[in-house]
Symmetry: C2
Amino acid sequence: MNTQNIISRKQNGIVQPLLTDLYQITMAYAYWKTGKVMDNSVFDLFFRKNPFQGEFTIFAGLEECLKFLEAFHFSESDIEYLKQTMPSVEDDFFVFLSNLSARDVVIYALDEGTVVFPRIPLIRIEGPLIVTQLLETTFLTLVNYASLMATNAARYRIAAGNSKLLELGLRRAQGPDGGLSASKYSYIGGFDGTSNVLAGKLYNIPVKGTHAHAYVTSFTNFSELHTRILHSKNDGKPYDFVQLAIKWRSELGPLFKVVNAEVNDGELAAFISFAMAFPDQFMVLVDTYDIERSGLLNFCAVTLALNDLAFQAIGIRIDSGDIAYLSYVAREYFSKISTKYEIPWFKDLIIMASNDINEETILSLNDQGHKINCFGIGTHLVTCQKQPSLGCVYKLVDLNNVPRMKLSQDVAKVSLPGRKDAYRLFSERGDALIDLLVQTDEEPPSVGSKILCRHAFEESKRAYVTPSKVEKLHKLYWKDGLICRPLPNLEEIRDNVTRSLKSLRSDIKRNHNPTPYKVAVSDNLYSFLHNLWMESAPIGELT
Amino acid sequence: MNTQNIISRKQNGIVQPLLTDLYQITMAYAYWKTGKVMDNSVFDLFFRKNPFQGEFTIFAGLEECLKFLEAFHFSESDIEYLKQTMPSVEDDFFVFLSNLSARDVVIYALDEGTVVFPRIPLIRIEGPLIVTQLLETTFLTLVNYASLMATNAARYRIAAGNSKLLELGLRRAQGPDGGLSASKYSYIGGFDGTSNVLAGKLYNIPVKGTHAHAYVTSFTNFSELHTRILHSKNDGKPYDFVQLAIKWRSELGPLFKVVNAEVNDGELAAFISFAMAFPDQFMVLVDTYDIERSGLLNFCAVTLALNDLAFQAIGIRIDSGDIAYLSYVAREYFSKISTKYEIPWFKDLIIMASNDINEETILSLNDQGHKINCFGIGTHLVTCQKQPSLGCVYKLVDLNNVPRMKLSQDVAKVSLPGRKDAYRLFSERGDALIDLLVQTDEEPPSVGSKILCRHAFEESKRAYVTPSKVEKLHKLYWKDGLICRPLPNLEEIRDNVTRSLKSLRSDIKRNHNPTPYKVAVSDNLYSFLHNLWMESAPIGELT
């Protein structure tokens, strides 16, 4: 074991060979007992239905699978535990298990961040049956949530247009690492940052944050402000910042049409202290008490005081109430002040909303009209409330060069047997037209030639396609125990998501009644599949 | 830092002070800047609504919170990262931060595994504002999913009655550690085991598993069985087990009314090899091909062959189709064979169902009648599909002995200010009657005395209760930097769930239209709350 392996193993933490279902290990033993150790297998990892009632999915989690392969090794304590758990198993099997590695496995996969569709094998896993079977659960765990999360984030990105998107879900995530994965894969899907500091540190994602309501309620009046002096950004001169903010609040009173008794002093004290800590990044929650009668006025007073000292505030966050309406109210005050005091940037201050927002909320806000330019998304994003799991499966499609399939009364559940490659065919305009599955040993589709694309199950559904561009989706990622392609970093994966989604027609990406994207099989694969299907299906006898 | 701390820190893995929202750290800086370092705070961690449209919740995650406190320390690399992220922050603050520990924090909490209700503080966190505030996100992350999961599992336990329950959700969980937490907390909630091997190893939970469909499809005929000999459990004599199973299948053919061509040889070969690997724990999936015309017959043939060699099989798993109907069919064959060959245990073989089952499926199966005696639950359990997050919040209720509250137009969102203890009052029969919140400095409720219990917000809702037993729910768990109560192990927490749920009337626990359990405040707390509320609410002026 070399140093790099040790590092990978450490990085993987709980992602280790025991992070699997026991049945993988009982199967391994039964394969070993029955002499199937050297059987050569091909598995496909794929899903059958796009999540969120949508028509696309973003593939993610590949790098974690490859890192898992690098470190794949049963430790002494793993073996010890398995011996206790499976007392009837022969000792020699454990010797075999402790020597097992992923060296003989070969992995073809799509690039991480690619937009994908049902039935396309996202990863094709080849190699000795015992090892490939042992990878199933861990691969599914690593791909399912990562892809679901990236897809969810991409959908929010589409809904939010040019608004900024921040992920704020750690506290509601499914476990600490559910939170970390959410930050990572929502960034890939198009979010601009996260509140999760550890995610920022581990994955180099921008982190953002202001304060909670508790910060505001922790102040009751100005006497709690033990520091009052702030130095001007221009000339470094000291000012009594508390006095300055209070003066501005009096001046703004008539504009906001509120009497002094309505405006909360504790809130102003909290804003003042926060501005003194972050004069260049002043952004506060304005809904602890009453947004219209207290929060906005206090915010504007402090922002004008900061402006006197040459600091430019960032904006406000609204966490409750009718956010469309409140965003209009806030924007109007900002505009009025911008004009009255001739401060151009004041009208463009950020208005961030973070009140239990989901994809549909954003779309409905878009319909109503709003003045929000940043959304903070928590629960709905990170738990994927609309559909909290993606149904990726891992199916044996070939063993010792004999194609395998699981028959099912349910056509949707029939798997496509054999080794297959996927190609994406593009129109002249650069739109993705169709994904085509072909047998790995047949002629690949080529630019300019007329290709018959067939529905895998419905005989009459077929079409000719003459592609202007052909992209081979499957690439060799792992061979001889090594990752054999340079892995993109998070930014590059994120760019791939953007690029990949851009090639998709917008009717396929829309939230309401999206058009399904076509996935087809070659004429060859169609015949192969249907012959095999007829051969395997038993002829019953009605009695 | 002593050795124990180092160990704890390692055990916690990613659960570390940076696993938080950035705003906790920006707030800490603002508190520090404004001189609020020594402010003494009280926070309540609670939820407002039971999950899953139910009327109870199981509290879990406490031990993880306490372990987090033990290890609470910003490392050098954490500080380095924060310095880069917050470049405007004064260096002295980072010195302060790197010396911070949870030594001055005091934690009162309910026992882990206790059944709990909205508004009861599950954890009361006291101590210096900066530290208590820094714990918010991590505590919420640790409690939210753990409690949600334990509650979900407990609901399945109630629905399933005496059937065994196995958790099989790792592949569909939200990240690897979502899977581990799911195994751990579903065991606490009443599951009998998990398929997750690492969870078994880490938490000492029973692990179970047989095989996947791929195992069956990996065999096509008997020639692939490289070993044929199995030794009898009785006399150790060798038998040709393949021949024996094939003989039994011929004999059973007429009973199952199938012709040989319908029965899949690959499936029988797979069952034979699996039986030879696990003759004492034979349990197989019978739905790879056709349950009625192949799977059940092959299973019974192998089970009878095993019986000839004095081995007793365990049962079958059904993963598709109409499981109620199929369980009847299977049970009928088992009974017939039991009678015909005089094998008493044959009729009681386990029939396990694992086909996308949720709580409602089990209840509907109960209504229809079924012969299943074990459920394997995956996606719906581990992702808590019905409601994938619990809304625990963390609210400041007292600062420097001044009660704090966040007002809200929405009464449901008003927090209960001040330091409070919770008591559970029981009837003579031992049923839990009501939970009562009292101020920590008032007289606690006592057995036999008549206590006025009031609804926190609705003036007219109140009742006298004369409890036969009073249980103080809040206990001191952390003081002077140490866990100060012996922590129960997983089994003990699991027993607490059972005991705690048992004291709850069944109409509160039922799935359909459950009765809400009452949570009340003392008359004292009621007056305190309403006075404070009136004081804090500003009087507007309609203009």
